[in-house]
Amino acid sequence: MRLTYPHMGEAYIAIKSLFDDIGVESTIPSFTTDTTLRLGAALSPETICLPFKIMLGNYINSIKAGADTVLITGSCGPCRYGYYGPIQQQILREAGYRDIDIIVLDPPREGYRDFYAAVKKLSHRGRTHPLQAVLTAYRVSCAVDALNDLLYHIRPRAVNKAEVRAILHRFKEQVTQACGSAEILKMVEETGNALKQVEINNEIKPLKIGIIGEIYTIIEPFTNLNIEERLGEMGMEVHRSMTVRSWIQNTLIKPMTGRKSYVLEKKLSKPYLPAMIGGHAQQCIGHAVQYAQMGYDGLIQIYPMTCMPEIVSRSILPQVEKDYGIPILYLIVDEQTGMAGYVTRIEAFVDCVARRKKEMLHE
């Protein structure tokens, strides 16, 4: 058995550490590019959301590299994501990849004995206890998160932006070659130290932009046109509302230990959307309110075309915009997304936010 999994931003680091620790052979799919998307889109239903198409492309890339089992998480919520597994399996079979197996890891609240059994089934060498490995993977994702936070601070202030890019490039290259959580954690730490050595200009007071929206499109840099790096190099301090760590914490760790997940987000979004409607619609609104209260200068909502929960939050967000006086840019992405048009829109938005801030300071 050689496992593979779809990409979602930096998720591959934590997943790789998990598989290395429990002794499962795994293949990291090659990083998402236009070709990946085209591969996936050719086989996918026409109006399905973007993550489906990209994930399918990832599988095919990995299968060509020798993987034979795909591991994805599942859900039984009202979002379409819960039905990805069965349909993708069918599509792969019809496309001629007959002996590819898709293992769907449903969240523990659907019965966490099944979840545990699935993890145990995967670990056949048993070097590390599976639960231990999951916790270590969580620690890896925490470390990656901390690295990202550092990056958000350093990028807009760095004197030489290329230096930051080079460090990250090296990290990405090394991490795909690494083996085991210990090695990965060490690499993350080293990268953090290298980033701290970068010369920064602390005089700069950058604008703060929050990124909210659908979890996959905001985490995966390919789908959002690398917005974090782009804004960072334009001199904005960005913060992304959802990370792999927060996802693991809220869907795995909190329910398993009997705690409620997304408490703050639900509380903040209550005046706007009092019920759970699926996906991360409530969380998106909650984050928007949170960023507004924290004094961010602007928000960017990113979601794939036809995403059901985000369409609901998209129609509510203008009210948040009015109530808190915070500008929001809405970016809807799909496989037809043209780079130039989006970059223009982002630049125009940044200009607006900058001018708005200047006027506010003068008053």
Binding site: C76, Q90, P274, I277, I311, V312, R314
Partner: protein
């Protein structure tokens, strides 16, 4: 004076109107349903709703806009879940908010949450809450109204199962007898199928061409449940379940000569359900199958051509079926 409650003619109106009507009239409210969709209503809906919502949601916005100065309240229930363990669609859950923050100057919205995800008591809770919101606090009266509403709903559903169009049953019109040879299965969400403006009058067009139809609502829920057991994973949308179950049933039924799948552009559920049905049709179905995709820009002429083509397919098949083999 009785409170006037506006009921937009959209989404699950075609499924739940008799229930809502009986309940509200029994507790002493006056109901104001919006008229059938017109161009104006659709235009208003498109104007106020966000761009990438699906057509039925846009139409619903239009109806809400129409009712804004004609009623004291607007009933937009939050249908999170209408059967145990299943959802409908995230947009149903967020519908009150979508309308509230998109259409200006609306009357007060009655947005009771109907959540039967855990148990069917969710409905009772919603009904009590709705009546309390209107100032009716007598639990016996509410209970009685709920009972009557339920029996009205049952008889409505019974009539639809017999093969009457929900529109005819709601309006109290006598059922039309269609004289025709071919019967097609129509698989679609009720809010697409029975709104004759947005689907370019599809039902009448079929009738005019002498084609009889069986819709998703006319298939026994037990059969739907049974056919959905074939799925690789439990279907967690009740709307999706209806479509898949009825499509599989209609395709396997020898008295159905073809299946039409009507879908709205950018419908999230149909993108997966439709894929499943299409795959099944391509693999195992030997009769005409067609997907009709509609949105607010659909043109009448193109639609007619497709229906004509489908009719030719049906005719061609019937002719061949009686012919001897061409190979002698």
């Amino acid at each position: 004076m009785a409170a006037k409650i506006g009921i937009p003619r959209g989404m699950y109106y075609y499924k739940h109107f008799p229930f809502t009507k009986t309940f509200l009239t029994e507790i002493g409210a006056e109901i104001v349903p919006s008229p059938e969709t017109t161009k104006e209503i659709l235009d208003k809906g498109v104007q106020y709703c966000i761009d990438d919502a699906c057509l039925p949601v846009k139409v619903y916005h239009g109806h809400a806009h129409y009712l804004r100065d004609k009623a004291d309240f607007l009933l937009i229930p939050r249908l999170t879940s209408i059967s145990k363990g299943e959802y409908i669609c995230p947009k149903f859950g967020g519908l009150p908010e979508m309308v509230k923050y998109s259409v200006p100057q609306l009357p007060r919205i009655l947005d009771v949450e109907v959540n039967m995800l855990r148990s069917r008591w969710g409905l009772d809770k919603a009904l009590y809450r709705l009546a309390y919101g209107l100032g009716i606090k007598n639990p016996f009266r509410i209970r009685q109204a709920a009972g009557k509403a339920l029996s009205a709903h049952r008889s409505f559903k019974g009539r639809v199962l017999e093969g009457h169009s929900p529109n005819d049953v709601i309006d109290g019109k006598p059922p039309k007898y269609i004289n025709g040879r071919d019967t097609v299965g129509l698989v679609a969400h009720p809010y697409l199928l029975y709104d004759s403006y947005i689907n370019m009058n599809l039902l009448n067009k079929l009738t005019e061409r002498g084609i009889r139809y069986v819709t998703t609502e006319m298939v026994d829920p037990h059969i739907i449940e049974q056919r959905c057991m074939e799925l690789p994973k439990r279907m967690f949308w009740s709307s999706g379940k209806e479509l898949i179950g009825s499509a599989l049933y209609l395709m396997d039924n020898s008295r159905i000569d073809g299946v039409l799948f009507l879908t709205a552009f950018s419908c999230g559920i149909d993108s997966l359900v439709g894929e499943f049905i299409e795959k099944y049709a391509r693999r195992d179905y030997r009769k005409p199958f067609m997907v009709l995709n509609i949105d607010e820009h659909t043109g009448d002429a193109g639609f007619n051509t497709r229906i004509e083509a489908f009719k030719d397919l049906l005719n061609g098949r019937c002719k061949d079926a009686t012919d001897l083999s061409s190979h002698g």
